[in-house]
Every structure is written in C-alpha cells, then in structure tokens.
C-alpha cells in the first residue's frame, strides 16, 4: 500500500518536473543549513544532551584514602528527583535549591518588566532617531554605546552611581537635601535598580533593529497615505507597526531570551542580595555551580530554563506566524 503510494508520487513528480531537479531541491536546503547544524550540534546540542542526561543523576561523592589518593563514587540515577526538589517546597527549605521558586519569580518579574519597557521604548527611540535631526549620529551614539560595553563594564558604571556612601545619585540627593536610598541593598529596591541598568544597556540594541526595519519600509507607502490625509499617528499605527510585526516578533524572542540569560551585571550589583531579592536563575546557577555534588541541580535548572524559553518562543511563533507561515 505504502509502496504503491510512493510509486505513484514519484511518477507524478517525474511527470511534472525534470527528474534531476526535484532531488537537488530536496537536498539543497539541508546543504544550506548543514554548516550551522553541524556546529550547533557539536557545541550546543551534544553538551545539552549531556546536561539533560546528567540532570537525572545525583553526582557521586568523592573521598580520599589515607595516602591522599582520590576515590570517586559513581553517580546514582535518580529520575526526576532533581526536578521535584526544585518545584516542591519543603520544611526546612531544600539546602541547595530551596530558593529556586523565589529566584524563578524574580527572573520572571525581571523579564516581563525589562522586555515590556525596553521594546516599546526602543521602538519609540528608533522613531525619534529615524528623523532628520541635527547631530543624529551623536544622538544615536549616545543611545547605542551601552551595547558596545561589556555588560560588566556598563554595570560597573551603574554600581558607581548607585553606591550608598560614595555613589553619585546619593551625593546629588544629599546635596539637595532629599533622603538618600541604599539602591542596591534595600530588599524592595534592588531588583528595580538592576532592571534600570538592563533597560539602559539593551534599548539601543533593539533600537538598531527597529531602525533597520524602519529603513526597509518603502517611503512611497507613507506618501500615498499622506495624500489620503492620514495623520502621523494614523500612519504609525496602520503602516509602521504592522509592517514591523516580524521585527517585533524577532525582538520579543531575543529580548525575553536575553532577559532570562543576563547575569554578569549582578556580579557588581550586589550579587543577588540582599536576601536573594535580586537573584536570578543564571546567577543562582553560578552560585551552586562550584559544588560538584550539586551539579545535578545546575543541569536541571538549565533544562527548566530551556523548556520555559522554547515554550515561550513556540507560542510567539504560533501566534505571530500562523497567518503567513503557509504557502511559502
């Protein structure tokens, strides 16, 4: 049955196309993506599979004999126990991953706020920067330079602004007679202080892609709309925003991925403290990481992160691309 069907198909294809061409067309896409796939396979997928595998094990302890030689016990298979420990609260809290849910919550707040503020902001900035304004290069530079800085360098600039005794913000506040704040060491403030740094760092990054998108919109569309008497804001919402839909989708995926992955800034912005209030998943991983016996949890948290981000991306694609994904 199956054989007959495929035989029919082959005949059909052979009838409608030259025989050689369909075969080439079938292989070609794979050839085009092969270099990318091979490299990603070797340096990402293979180690990811190892990570997934190790997330199901509890690492074996290692000890030393009386001559000081190392004795390594084998890892134990524990199924999904590492994942269960992440999500099931215990009393007392789990000694290694007891703060996981709090940290996950922080990360989600951080991601939602940074992405929610930065994307509209960078779109607005792109509109501003896309105008013919004197000194445009300078304005663009002032918005884009944070992207060029190493994250930890940019965050250090802010650490210096945020300092309690010697920070610029508090020095200015003090001289104005306004009560100062300990920006990085007040539980209710610290996450917002970190969010500001990330918005500052990323806005120029997304702006550049919106700029690229804006410049690719043919001008005559606007000219036609203007002739029809559409106001600037009508043009904005009926032409610009819809035409930048794909850019927005792309940036939404990238921005939320980055929001979950961004970590180095915490190294100089009070390292997840006080009281874990600014701790986020990646920093949490770094904190646990040096403990070999907790490695199973590091792997499990990494996989949870991948699942969250893939799901989010999948929903985005399904939502944004449903309409135009077929027929191409």
């Amino acid at each position: 049955m199956a054989q007959t069907q495929s035989a029919v198909q082959v005949t059909h294809i052979a009838q409608t196309h030259r025989l050689k061409r369909p075969q080439w067309r079938h292989i070609l896409p794979y050839l085009l993506i092969a270099p990318t796939l091979i490299l990603v396979g070797l340096f990402t997928i293979y180690p990811t599979i190892r990570t997934l595998e190790q997330s199901l094990y509890e690492p074996g302890a290692s000890t030393r004999d009386e001559r000081g030689r190392r004795v390594q016990e084998p890892d134990t298979f524990v199924g999904f126990q590492n994942y269960a420990d992440l999500f099931i609260t215990q009393d007392p809290p789990h000694p290694i991953v007891g703060s996981f849910l709090q940290v996950l919550g922080n990360t989600i707040v951080f991601a939602v706020v940074t992405v929610g503020v930065t994307l509209p902001l960078s779109f607005g900035l792109a509109l501003l920067m896309n105008r013919a304004v004197r000194g445009r290069a300078l304005w663009r530079f002032s918005l884009f330079y944070p992207v060029l800085l190493p994250l930890i360098g940019g965050a250090s600039m802010w650490a210096f602004l945020y300092g309690n005794t010697g920070g610029l913000i508090n020095i200015v506040l003090r001289s104005l007679g306004i009560p100062t704040q300990d920006w990085l060491n007040t539980p209710d403030l610290v996450l917002w202080s970190v969010i500001v740094v990330n918005i500052w760092k990323q806005a120029g990054f997304y702006m550049i892609f919106y700029l690229a998108g804006l410049q690719a919109i043919p001008k005559d569309i606007y000219e036609a709309a203007a002739l029809d008497g559409a106001s600037y804001f009508q043009q904005l919402f009926s032409i610009t925003v819809p035409l930048l839909r794909r850019t927005t989708l792309f940036l939404l995926v990238i921005a939320s991925t980055y929001a979950f992955q961004t970590v180095e800034q915490l190294d100089v912005l009070n390292r997840g403290m006080p009281a874990n209030r600014s701790n986020m998943l990646l920093w949490y991983i770094y904190q646990i990481y040096p403990s070999a016996q907790a490695r199973g949890y590091v792997n499990a948290i990494s996989m949870v992160l991948v699942v969250i981000l893939l799901t989010f991306t999948f929903i985005n694609f399904a939502f944004f691309e449903r309409k135009d994904d077929d027929g191409q």
Partner: protein
C-alpha cells in the same frame, strides 16, 4: 559585491595563517603551569614575572608558565572544568577551597613532600599556625601552603578619637560607645562591610568574639545556631538599625558594600570600619594623598561581651594558598612533582614572602619573613602592619567544611535576610535554626562515614 567576496576570502586566509597555534614543543625541560588568581591591586603580572625569572635562573631545566586565571571564583571554575587531567600544575586559590579541592580536584597532599625535606619541620613550623589551619585536614594532613593571606582588622580615624578624647575600643560595648560619640548626620560611627553575598567573613569575627567560632578542625562541624552566634548576628544587625528600632544608630541598614567601605573611611564619611588587612596599603596611600589627611589607626577587632577585653579577640583568616595538582591518567613523574614543590617552596620562602607582603599588603605567612627587609623596614615606618600580624595570635580558622560551597550559600542567605531587614530581629533565631537544619541535612552523610 564580487570584490567584497574576494576580499572576505583573502581575510579568511590571513586569519587562518595568523591563528596557527604557538607550538609547545616536547622539551626535556619541566614546565610548570602556574595559575594565579588576583585579589589585590598593583602590577601583579610584573611582580610574578620577577619571581619566575629569579626562580628559573636558580633552577635551570624548570620553566614557569605564568597564567593569569582571573578572580578566585573564575580560577576555581577553570580548574574544576579541567577535570581529573588538569593542565594546571600549581595554583594560588582560596585557602577555604580545601574541602572542595580534596573531593573534586586532583590536588596532592604535601605532608609527604614536607617529610622528605631535610629541614621539613623547621620549614612548616615557621608558618603562622592560624594560616596553616585552613591548609590542614582533620587528620593533620597538609594540603596547601599559605601564600597571600589576610585577616579583618579595625581601622579607626585616630584624629577623630583624639579630638573627642576617646580610647580605642577593645570590646563591643566600647566599640558602640565610641561609634555613637562619633556619629554625626554626615558621618557613620562604624561601617561593617556585610552588604552583599559575603557577610560570612565579618560574621565569623563576631562569632569568635562571642566565643563560638563557626567551624573547628573537623570538616563535619558547623555551628550556625548557637546562643553565641545569635548574639553575634543581633549585634551586627543593631549596628545598622536606628535607635528607635532597637539599634545602635551608628551605621547604614544592612551594612555597607565591601568595595565602598574603604573610600567612605578615607573621605571621612565613616569614623571606624571593619575591613581586611589587604586594604591597608591602599587606605594608607589614599589617606595621605586625600583632601583631609588624618592618622589611620589600626587595632585588633574588639572582643565580644563587655569587660572581657582580650578574652574574646578573634578574627578569621582569609586569602589564598598554594596547591599542587596531579594528572590522574598520566600521573606526574617525580621530577615534575619535585619541580612544582620547589616552586611552591620558593614562593613561600621568607625572602619572597617578605617582598610580596611589602608590595601588596598581604600578611607575610612566615615568622621569619618579618625579620628581613623589605618588610622589616616597612613595619618600622608603618607599625599598622605589625598590628595585623599580632592579631594572628587570636585568629581562628576561616570557614571550611564538607559541602563548603553549599553551606556558605545557606549562611550568607540567612545572614543577609536578617541584616537587610527582610526578617525582623525577632525572627533571627528562627532563621539561624532553619539554616542549621539545612546544614545538618548536608553534613549528615559525612558524619556517618
């Protein structure tokens, strides 16, 4: 476009040619890959290069390959990532990483090498016992040699104390009295650098001051929930609370950030601070060059309860030791181990320790290093350096235990919750009990074994 592509092609070729690896040829030489972690300012690469050149001149046939390996954290990550066949031969790493390295790396015990020395006893007894404590396990096996060590001390603005006619405090009650007398709207009386992820270090000073150090020689013991440690935590928290909230009203809530504390002291925003001896050099320099120079006083950390002057002195040690690493699939030859051991001996020699201490502000780890120049004349000029050394008599072992990384995370988190005000002072006892329960869970398997 065509031109662009041919240019790109050319670029690929050029880059390819430039990227050919620098060949490491098989030599009869023994090469020691030495990873050094930095934790002080200064032109350290040049200083290490000087040591290596001197060593190589004295030991033909041994090459020292200096590798800057980042911060302590970065270095530890790199070494652990190299696995059981590491590239590293000798490294400077935190003294407190001993338990981690014993279980997860290939460090070799040094006791056998010390026994093999002609004057092994004389060599090892010349180190300050407080510094050796973190390099030794419960069975007395020595695994690492002290290299760049430090300890927290009390820095005070001597001019302010003199103006107010105050004595240097020697116990916590006096400490608060002095701090309150010197607190003004523009100045904190006392800054404790406990904001951030590392309150555990200063906390250990207070735990020792109240009579119960957090750890002892047995790596399976951690004392986090005791009446003494509770008193210590409450005291530290009160330093940052205003009087109306039951505090002493002498410092910022939650303490100050580690890096900001010395500059607050230098600029006169704080009358007294707890900080590391590792800051002594930069504080002395900065105060001398500052707008309002003052006399920098240095004293032992005050002892705990009132009227117990001297009985409760105590501070943890800190800083880095030298470790030697083996290779499990192709174990090091005797010649290789000998070369690594010679390099460790060289770096821990009185001459190098004296020079390193004088150049960086670390406390030279051997008694005899203090009897020779340049350290001898430095102490003559700045007696402050001697105070740090003398406090070592009262110093306690720095935190280390099995599951050290995990337990430090637990302790730092609970401390941060209390200090920052996330939990009220009434809940402190509960938080310590919770932390202790978590710690006991982790240490239980080791106690049975």
């Amino acid at each position: 476009m065509q031109k662009l592509f041919s240019r790109l092609g050319l670029l690929v070729v050029v880059i390819g040619m430039l990227c050919i690896a620098p060949f490491t040829q098989a030599q009869e030489n023994v090469q020691i890959d030495f990873y050094w972690a930095s934790a002080v300012e200064g032109n350290l690469p040049a200083i290490f290069q000087g040591y290596a050149d001197q060593f190589m001149a004295e030991n033909p046939g041994i090459t020292i390959n200096l590798v800057y390996s980042g911060s302590y954290t970065q270095t530890r990550e790199t070494i652990l990532a190299e696995g059981t066949d590491p590239i590293v031969d000798v490294a400077i790493m935190l003294a407190t990483d001993l338990s981690t390295f014993i279980s997860d790396s290939t460090i070799i015990p040094l006791s056998f090498l010390i026994e093999g020395m002609e004057d092994g006893d004389a060599y090892i007894t010349d180190f300050f016992p407080a510094f050796l404590a973190n390099g030794t396990d419960a069975d007395g096996m020595i695994w690492s040699i002290p290299f760049q060590r430090s300890t927290p001390i009390l820095f005070y603005n001597a001019d302010l104390l003199a103006e107010a006619g105050l004595e240097v405090p020697t116990n916590n009650e006096d400490l608060i009295a002095v701090a309150q007398a010197l607190t003004t709207p523009d100045r904190y009386g006392l800054l404790l650098p406990v904001a951030g992820t590392f309150p555990i270090w200063i906390y250990q000073s207070f735990a020792a001051a109240y009579g119960k150090p957090v750890v002892d020689n047995d790596l399976t013991n951690v004392y986090f929930n005791t009446p003494e440690t509770l008193a210590a935590v409450e005291f530290m928290t009160r330093v940052g609370l205003p009087v109306e909230e039951g505090g002493f009203g002498v410092g910022p809530k939650g303490g100050s950030a580690w890096g900001e504390t010395p500059s607050a002291f230098v600029s006169g925003q704080a009358a007294m601070i707890y900080h590391t001896t590792g800051s002594l050099t930069s504080i002395l320099n900065d105060v001398t060059n500052s707008e309002n120079p003052f006399e920098v006083g240095v004293a032992f950390l005050p002892s705990g309860p009132a009227n117990e002057d001297g009985n409760g002195y105590g501070a943890p040690t800190g800083g880095g030791n030298l470790y030697i690493f083996d290779n499990e699939s192709t174990p090091k030859t005797e010649a290789e181990i000998d070369a690594a051991w010679r390099w460790v001996q060289f770096l821990s020699s009185p001459e190098v320790q004296s020079d390193w201490g004088a150049q960086t502000g670390y406390i030279a780890s051997r008694y005899s290093a203090w009897d020779i120049d340049p350290l001898l004349s430095l102490v003559a000029e700045y007696p402050q350096y001697g105070v740090a050394r003398d406090q070592l008599e009262f110093a306690v072992k720095e935190f280390d235990a099995y599951r050290s990384v995990d337990i430090q995370n637990i302790i730092n988190l609970q401390l941060s919750k209390i200090l920052s005000g996330e939990l009220s002072l009434d809940q402190a006892a509960e938080a310590l009990a919770e932390g202790q329960a978590q710690i006991d869970q982790l240490l239980e398997p080791f106690k049975q074994g």
